[in-house]
């Protein structure tokens, strides 16, 4: 039955223009492909209720989660610094040391990833599409506040269903540097400094002690890098490389990528001088 509905319907239900479905057997335009083609923005996402199962071997326990992570972002006079680690764990197995936890939504907006890897990358990719639609409709760039609000409202519809996402939306708009923390519980908070993940406490300690209003670009970058490094040092679930981005008035730029092992040698050598 699922196969027949696949072969009879356009697959890209997310664009949801026409709700008619030929012989699919689903009244609301659902296809076997897992997309709901609802009219309007087509953003409502089809949910299949999972059968009640206590099976420990079910894939829920094997999905990659990034609760074990350290991501941070802070505002300073020259923009926003975004620094993240790159480790993804599935239980106690390190699934990857090269995860890109900063998502480039568009040339002037960045989003970070913490929580469920698939949840973060999927919803932020959807956010990128929605930001582009906004640009086309309104002939101007979307503000950071509006982009973060779109994301928060999208995931709020799934509150309680098990999405796990803790993200920071960072950008530069008419009001200057913008930084919002959005999560799958429904929180959306603007601020000057956020750190998310299991290593966040270690990162807060470093950033709080070094943050000053008159930081230069190099000092701010080094502060972000050091904070993530210290978090990877003490948190078993954070590690890999430190990816550093900076958002300024012209957009974002990728500053550096440093392996934590090399940073360790570097800081150790500096401490011995």
């Amino acid at each position: 039955m699922a196969l027949s509905s696949i072969l009879s319907r356009e697959p890209l239900g997310l664009f949801g223009s026409d709700a008619g479905s030929v012989g699919a057997g689903f009244s609301d335009g659902r296809t076997g492909l897992g997309f709901s083609s609802v009219s309007g923005d087509g953003l409502s996402f089809d949910i299949r209720a999972p059968p009640n199962t206590d099976d420990e071997a079910a894939p829920e326990s094997k999905i990659e989660f990034l609760h074990g992570t350290t991501t941070l972002a802070f505002k300073f006079q020259h923009g926003v610094i975004v620094a993240v680690d790159s480790r993804a764990t599935a239980g106690s197995y390190i699934a990857s040391q090269t995860v890109k936890k900063v998502i480039e939504i568009n040339p002037y907006l960045l989003g970070t990833m913490a929580g469920g890897a698939a949840d973060c990358s999927f919803w932020e990719r959807l956010l990128a599409r929605q930001c582009r639609v906004y640009e086309l409709r309104n002939k101007e760039r979307i503000s950071v506040a509006a982009a973060s609000k779109l994301l928060a409202n999208m995931v709020y519809q799934y509150k309680g269903m098990g999405l796990s996402m803790g993200t920071m939306v960072c950008g530069w708009d008419k009001r200057g540097p913008g930084l919002y923390y959005v999560d799958s519980e429904g929180n959306r908070v603007g601020g000057d400094l956020f750190a998310v993940g299991s290593g966040s406490m270690y990162a807060y300690g470093v950033v709080d002690s070094g943050l000053r209003p008159e930081l230069s670009v190099e000092e701010a970058c080094e502060l972000g890098r050091r904070a993530i490094y210290q978090a990877t040092y003490r948190d078993a679930y954070s590690g890999g490389v430190v990816n550093l981005y900076r958002v300024h008035s012209q957009g974002w730029e990728r500053v550096s990528q440093d392996d934590v092992l090399q940073l360790h040698q570097q800081y150790k050598a500096e401490a011995q001088d």
Binding site: I6, L7, T53, A57, I63, E64, S96, A118
Partner: protein
Amino acid sequence: MLSTPMFANGGRMKEYHHSGSTECRFSPYAYNGGTVLAVAGEDFAIVASDTRLSEGYSIHSRDSPKCYKLTDTTVLGCSGFHGDCLTLTKIIDARLKMYKHSNNKSMTSGAIAAMLSTILYGRRFFPYYVYNIIGGLDEEGRGAVYSFDPVGSYQRDSYKAGGSASAMLQPLLDNQIGFKNMENVQHLPLTLEKAMQLVKDVFISAAERDVYTGDALKLCIITKEGIKEEMVPLRKD
């Protein structure tokens, strides 16, 4: 072949003596084992899988490879629950055909990877219990490997092992292909011959220590000339 409660532990050893009450619940998932591996080189990609299909203590088949040819330049390896592997490959084949009919060209490896991610996420709340690894050539002819988790999170790698013996194989690949944790070693680029030998050696090792891996190894070698297949016997015990 029904998934009786006895096999519902997902591949762990079942305890023979129960003390206390037993609750038997229907599980829509079963664990059929199997290991998949993909390696990307400068102008080639290799996707390899064992061919054993098991469930609990039984072997259902010794000739059930987990590599599926998608296009002339892309092969998908999927392990986990065989039922979901079959449905997923059917859906991908149908979507590839639709793309070809509407766009008059085959899907590129990167596009297939992005599409698979959304297909998997479409079942976020009742996931496909499948570990996917795509191997193929990108638009510039370079080898590409994309690895997925069951709900669609993916990234491009140069090598990845998935499935039951993945935790045994991945560290070995990290060392031999990624030159990790070695100092003063020359980073030589990976040749096709060395990659093939490495894949064979690595599966032979996995078959020694993982009960769900064995019987035979199927290699799909993807180059610009096309896809070549090779079968190598493994331990059958």
